[in-house]
Symmetry: C2
Subunit: 311 residues, 2 copies
């Protein structure tokens, strides 16, 4: 079953202790769709500029990703420059040029309307809500956001949260969105805003899923049973950019590949999310994510299981 | 099989967002021995002052803990005062009075010499090494340390590390002791100093065990297979003091209760460590740890499994 993702397709310049890359293909929708493409059909809604050439297009095409919803606009694509030299766990933003993204009006190809899954990557919550409303046929909606929208656009964000089934954000964003610093109470606060489930990403420590009282009825995913998936201890993290979006892509991609969202599927999806994030950070940009095989993914899934399972 | 633990038996005054307790029974050896007492026989080596009365003695006696190695000295017991008001994950030390601990010379009762397990809780590494050397019959030695010894007494600490089988320290201590900030490389560095295994405690995110090239031979615990155990997301952490020592107590207590240290036993021990830590933080001081039943422990163990296991 197909997933439509709306979000940024961008170019990044990134410095890490392992080196530097200039203007590599990046953006949340790019990482998400590459990761999800190993599990299911993916369709992208985004806007790019004239610097998005046949070379970048080929990256999506090689993974069979539908880019009919990627609008070409005059000007340059969204550009971000960041450094992880001081802290590999948190990027220091050096430059952000919205470029064509500043006037982004998502356009949804008619052929995307039969998508059963929708992922609203981190963009203006007004646009997230608009896309969600324009795709009434989707069965499951996932979403992401960031500090900027939580702090300065809370009213719009709350409207978006009311129509998201699974929200994937990190520890800092969770505490900022909630009224409590305690992780369980903070999750309860966020779940009261609408999502059936909150997946909190902990970076090198993995992720925890919490379920609300209005969770997936009758399938055993409930507020008394959070679920925690690991991250893999890696001897070298080359570039952490995109790990969270790759997690979301692996997570939703796996769910979309299964006939039903059972508790077992949700739990395995959490593991696949971690698996895809662990690949992404092994190389700069999307390099590692472009060249995987399903066998490598299954091998790493087995390592994640062995890392945490008693028997 | 019995465990001997050497470390502090102390009084703590603690402030947390949940309230305050004055001069409650505490200290690493106290938390460790109470936690381990649910699994095996425990013997304590420590020194206390005249403020350690029949009331405190009764806490150990109620759990069947052997205190013949707890010396009574003129003066007051070790006292620590800390606050978690600003940060529940890290105590701010307000006062430390070594008192009788300043001239502590561990004395090992002859009856302790048949202990098969020894845990060197966080004290001066010179004393840790002395106790280890004075108990040549032990089969497995665990140890803990802290920033102060790592920074200012490194030579003595290195001598201690050379005779420890399993070192249990937290993320910050691991990075400080190692030359790398990367968790895998840092673990490799620490393991090169002597321990067969390093258990890194991550607080609310659980703990990860790493194994060195000189690990437990032939039983499948090796350098290519770290193991990660969860911590339980709790809606209220009343007092984090002693969580790490309780983890160590549950971990070593369970190992000591088993006929052999197999990979399965090591992994289950990691879970039991998390279980005992999760109980400790639910009340001030040792309150929760005094009144557990083995049934409650097994119930929580099942929750830890459910929290992380796919099926």
């Amino acid at each position: 079953m197909a997933i439509t993702v709306v979000g940024s397709v961008a170019f990044d310049t990134v410095e890490t202790p392992a080196g530097r890359v200039d203007r590599c293909l990046a953006g949340a929708a790019t990482y998400f769709s590459l990761a999800a493409s190993y599990f299911t059909d993916v369709r992208v809604i985004a806007v790019v500029g004239e610097d998005f050439t046949a070379k970048e297009e080929a990256v999506f095409a090689a993974r069979g990703i539908d880019t009919r919803g990627v609008e070409r606009a005059p000007g340059k694509s969204f550009f971000w420059q960041g450094s992880y030299l001081e802290n590999l766990n948190e990027a220091k933003t050096l430059q952000t040029d919205l470029n064509v993204f500043a006037s982004f009006e998502p356009k949804i190809p008619a052929a995307y309307q039969d998508s059963e899954f929708l992922f609203l990557a981190n963009i203006d919550p007004v646009l997230q809500k608009r896309v969600r409303d324009a795709m009434p046929g989707v069965k499951l909606v996932g979403g992401d956001t960031m500090n900027y929208w939580i702090n300065d656009h809370r009213d719009n964000l709350l409207k978006m949260l009311a129509c998201v089934d699974i929200l994937l954000i990190n520890d800092t964003e969770t505490k900022l969105l909630a009224g409590s610093r305690n992780p369980v109470k903070a999750a309860r606060d966020v779940l009261s805003l609408g999502p059936k489930s909150l997946v909190v990403k902990h970076g090198e420590y993995g992720a925890t899923a919490f379920f609300g009282p209005n969770s997936f009825h009758g399938n055993g995913l409930d507020s008394h049973h959070p679920f925690r998936a690991p991250a893999l201890p890696l001897a070298e993290v080359v570039d952490p950019t995109g790990a969270g979006d790759s997690f979301a892509g692996g997570f939703f991609g796996y769910i979309a590949s299964q006939p039903e969202l059972t508790p077992a599927v949700f739990k395995r999806a959490m593991f696949y999310g971690g698996v895809m994030g662990s690949f992404t950070v092994e190389r700069f940009g999307t390099e590692r994510l472009r060249q995987l095989t399903r066998e490598e993914i299954e091998e790493r899934f087995a390592i994640f299981r062995e890392l945490t399972h008693l028997d």
